[in-house]
Symmetry: C2
Subunit: 153 residues, 2 copies
């Protein structure tokens, strides 16, 4: 009946559950931060990726851990709303590059300004040191999971 986990296994299980819960709240917070600029978390992510460096839809998908098709959908919305344009790619005829327009840059800057206030307050409340320590563990978990494969059965 009970799953008879080791103490370390228990620790990982509660860690994982708390991560999933926090991620839900962070997603909600991200949407709230992006909303005044008429955006969402997903659109913010794509804007930020394209701002970091012009890239194709497929590139952004890989960088963000989203599917190619999901990014495509969001990018088409961003283009429709005039936040990005698809620019010719000298290195690839088919894969156009997403480039932020002035409007896109303004929207991203507005979101980032709000995010800074929010992150500063939470960083202050939680403390830089423990955040850095926790981030290390989270990243270690990321790497451990990536090299861990779950058997089909």
């Amino acid at each position: 009946m009970s799953p008879d986990r080791t103490p370390a296994g228990d620790a990982f299980a509660t860690f994982a559950i708390s991560i999933l819960r926090l991620a839900g709240h962070l997603q909600t917070a991200g949407d709230a931060l992006a909303k005044p600029a008429g955006q969402t978390s997903a659109r913010w992510q794509v804007l930020a990726a394209a701002d970091h460096a012009p890239m194709s839809v497929a590139d952004a998908g890989r960088a963000l851990g989203m599917t190619r098709q999901g990014v495509q959908r969001v990018a088409d919305l961003l283009e429709r709303d005039g936040l990005i344009v698809y620019a010719e790619n000298p290195a690839h005829q088919r894969a156009k590059l997403m480039v932020l327009t002035d409007g896109g840059k303004a929207a991203l800057a507005a979101i980032r300004a709000r995010q800074a206030v929010w992150a500063d307050a939470l960083g202050e409340a939680l403390g830089e040191k423990v955040l850095l320590q926790a981030t290390e563990t989270v990243i270690a978990a990321l790497q451990a999971i990536e090299k861990q494969s779950i058997p089909e059965r």
Copy 2:
């Protein structure tokens, strides 16, 4: 241009991003763990909630941080597949209680057995102590975010 965050704000921002990335992987892992039992993360969550104590759809929604309607959809699938039944609720005529069938219990046990192996391995790899410490920070962040409201503009 740059968001001029404090060091603590930077620490929180990178913490948040790593949390979101890890959550994506955990979601994928959860689906993989549930798949051999013919389930998904969402269905597993609802099964586990109903197993912990018979509860209504709305109760489960609150407990899991899901919308009432989302749980309803999943619960109807679970009922259709014979993993739960809706039992009469003496305290509430309308809100039936979700109760696991033998098949539902078997499916949940199978998932939990696989989850235990997986969690034990990752717990061992990462270390119980750092996991407990990181969990503390994650929970602190949860509480801090819950009491933090993001202004509308």
